[in-house]
Amino acid sequence: MAAEEHSTGIAGHLQYWTYSFQQDLPVDERNPFMQIHIDTMLVTGFVACLILFFSAWLKGRIVEGAPTGAQNAVESVVGFVNDTVRDNFPVHNPLIAPLALTIFVFIFLCNFFDILPAYLLGHIAEGLGAPAFRPVPTNDLNLPVAMALVVFAMVLYYEFKLKPIHFMKDLLLQPFASLLLDSKNPVVKLLGVVLIPLNLTLKLIEELAKPLSLSFRLFGNMFAGEVIFLLIASLLLVDNMHDLMSVSGVISEIIGFVIGLGWSLFHMFIGLLQAFIFMILTVVYLSIAHQPVEH
């Protein structure tokens, strides 16, 4: 019975604070796309404002001499991102390093919200009248997908801009290009033409796999981390105050606290790692798009 209640609590906690733009329609007839996750928008908006206010504050205090305090810390991050881009990018593109920095900082700060106690923001929001609240926006598939699609759009843009013929050839003829280009037999050439849709399908799958893997990796890791947080937190859930003060209640509190603390530290590391992976893969995908054509 208690386990059922806990699972209901976890499932309830995994609900978004949602607003539908089709309030006049019955719930069953509403288009699921025509809604917005208010909690995700609030937290990402808060993080974005935090970063931008900090940037504006720091901008007026930047010195060319020896940096101290906040400038020193941010310069460490910028220097790390610059080094990563320099090591992986063949040419100079002034947009790549800022993009990598934005992705790294934004994802890391969004993941950082996972350090808050699992049910804290949900209960606060509930107290303020919100039906649900999920504090970590990277747990919402919309954010990773949005960032991955921006990266994907940039990859396509640079592929078409820098090597259009090569990209189109790659899109339509690979991996059976030799059938159409190298063979002198008209039947084989015809086969090459017939295989173009298959080539296109394979290439599209390959290209679409990039944003999909990019977004689902981040989403899956953070979502799984949150579920484990909720499971650990449920160790503390007892029915009443009497149970909480009992021997078994105290033991479960201690176990829950120790495991929760360990998982928090590990999950912070995972959050940092996921931010880095998203950033480095973005740089690598864009680097591939900038690679010169080999003849």
């Binding site: 796309f33 930047i62 060319e64 598939l141 949005a146």
Partner: protein, 161 residues
């Protein structure tokens, strides 16, 4: 877990943040870092140039020190040579002075001998005259006495000499 209009909102948030972060954080910070890097590189280059100049100056100083040492050695040698010459000159001069002193002494001695001879001669003449007066008892003419005595002395001294 659903894709909905939040995706559009996240597009807007992400792209806005990308553009603003580039303008407000990345570019000014990167400019400051690049300016500092250039300044540090210039400082390091100046330090390298300074070290090179110091090494050059050290080598030059060693050369000049060697030249000064050899020049000092030459001066000392020349001074020693000159001292030896001066010493030699002094010895020669002293010898010459000693010889002239000896010569002067000899001349003085000769004149003293001559003067002593003259005095002796006069004393002997007086004594002889007195002796002759006593023997002969006759007083002789002074002029004649003198000639006699001179002749006698001359004869006598020639015999003894």
């Amino acid at each position: 877990m659903s894709i909905d209009l939040t995706l559009v909102g996240q597009f807007v948030v992400f792209i806005t943040m990308l553009l603003l972060m580039k303008k407000m954080l990345y570019v000014p910070l990167n400019d400051a870092m690049e300016a500092r890097t250039k300044k540090i590189e210039a400082g390091l280059a100046a330090a390298d140039a300074g070290l090179e100049a110091k090494a050059k100056a050290d080598a030059e100083a060693v050369l000049q020190l060697d030249a000064a040492k050899s020049k000092a050695q030459e001066i000392v040698s020349a001074a020693e040579r000159r001292a030896a010459e001066v010493k030699e000159e002094a010895v020669v001069k002293a010898r010459l002075e000693a010889a002239s002193i000896v010569d002067a002494g000899k001349e003085e001695l000769a004149s003293e001998v001559g003067r002593a001879k003259q005095d002796l001669r006069e004393e002997v003449a007086g004594i002889a005259l007195q002796v002759a007066e006593k023997i002969v008892g006759v007083e002789l003419d002074a002029k004649r006495h003198t000639s006699l005595i001179d002749a006698t002395i001359a004869k006598g001294f020639d015999v003894h000499e």
